[in-house]
Amino acid sequence: MSSPEIERLIQMLSKLPGLGPRSARRAALHLIKRRDSLLDPLASAMAQAAQSVQPCGVCGNLDGTDPCGVCADARRDSSSICVVEDVADLWALERASSYRGVYHVVGGTLSALDGRGPDDLNIGALLGRVEAGEVTEIILATSATVEGQATAHYITDRLEETVVDGEPQFRITRLAHGVPVGGELDYLDDGTLSAALKARRPV
């Protein structure tokens, strides 16, 4: 029915998150009908991104330059490293605009089911940064899941190993777990409530 080029476009689009074959077909048609305003600019943006975007050699962020914009920004506090699982988490923290340190993307969590062990994560580079630099704080911002926290504990162990003798020069912290802003207790799940109660603090 459609030409092989269109079929291939639909096939590639259907592999994107949130798109199935039918929605990919709609998206392909939409793009083709708007060749000048959408298809050509999109193709050019994708080609440009494919050519220039790469993982930052320091933190693992994705950017057009290496080191990335965050690592190269002299206004940021390079003594504070926020460890995240994925670039999407880094972007989420950047959206919040409440952190002015630098990041380290480990690239996932430890997962026995998926066969992802410590060697598959970007932990060695983090240890290298800690050993080399003037790091005063490491914030573990892994997700509040069993796998995310197990990964955080593992990273903590490895970081503690870097302290040969004496007191560590850096502190290790993690994000709080508990009641979200705007959350009503009645609507919270039991796990979040239990974690919030456990992590309560004096006022």
């Binding site: 026995a112 089911l113 069993v146 504990h153 903590t156 799940d189 796990g191 979040t192 974690a195 456990k198």
Partner: protein, 240 residues
């Protein structure tokens, strides 16, 4: 067909964009997997964390199908153990062992009850490491690789049991085991189940014994080894 039961979440694997394949250890139906629609979405993800106790409804057109689960959270154990470094690793080790070594869809109510009890021990008991070692010994028993620590395999004596044979899993008394002591495992007294408080060395000795037989079981299952999660837990525990 469909059934309802209590279950402990052993693992959750993302499937597609929002669904998850969840494996539960249920009381009456054993280790059972099922698809949860929306199980890896932000609303339901908290329910399907390893170690949580849930009520589960499993439904499928034919019994041999994967089927789908609808679950409700009963006890959020994962949230309580998440911040405890060693206890979380122990939980992951136990659930990984059950997932790896227990045959699927075979009722093992004793494994469900012992896993449930272990999670409570991890949350509440300061002597949880010995509780975990005893759980592994009990789990081996459920798998058919149990240790026989009731009497000496050589003399029949019930006194002075200080070794375990790596070949048979039977206890050996001090006098009978003396000539072979380099080949035998030391038997920590608390494994005899007489209520002794164990120290770290004894617990590590127990892990050596249970680890050996868990490995034997894993090899018999499919020639593989035991899950990495247990190695990570042991590594962390031995450094504590």
């Amino acid at each position: 067909m469909n059934w309802s039961d209590e279950g402990i979440v052993l693992s959750t694997r993302k499937h597609g964009e929002n669904a998850a394949i969840v494996t539960l250890m249920t009381r009456a139906y054993g280790r059972y997997a099922g698809l949860v629609r929306g199980g890896s979405g932000s609303r339901a993800r908290g329910i399907y964390q390893t170690g949580n106790l849930v009520t589960a409804d499993w439904r499928a057109r034919l019994s041999e199908h994967l089927g789908s689960y609808t679950c409700e959270l009963l006890q959020p154990h994962a949230a309580l153990l998440m911040t405890e470094r060693q206890q979380l690793m122990a939980l992951l080790s136990a659930t990984a062992l059950v997932e790896r070594l227990l045959p699927e869809r075979e009722p093992h109510p004793e494994v469900f009850e012992s896993l449930k009890a272990l999670i409570t021990v991890l949350e509440e008991d300061v002597n949880w490491p010995s509780g975990y070692a005893l759980w592994e010994a009990g789990f081996l028993n459920d798998l058919g690789y149990g240790l026989d620590l009731s009497q000496c395999a050589a003399t029949g004596s019930r006194e002075d049991l200080v070794y375990v044979s790596p070949r048979t899993g039977c206890a050996v008394s001090a006098s009978a085991g003396e000539p072979y002591k380099d080949k035998l495992f030391p038997l920590p007294a608390f494994l005899l189940g007489r209520g002794e408080i164990a120290n770290t060395d004894e617990i590590l000795q127990a892990f050596r014994v249970t680890g050996h037989f868990l490995n034997v079981c894993a090899r018999d299952v499919d020639g593989g080894g035991i899950p990495e999660a247990r190695g990570r837990f042991l590594d962390r525990f031995s450094r504590s």
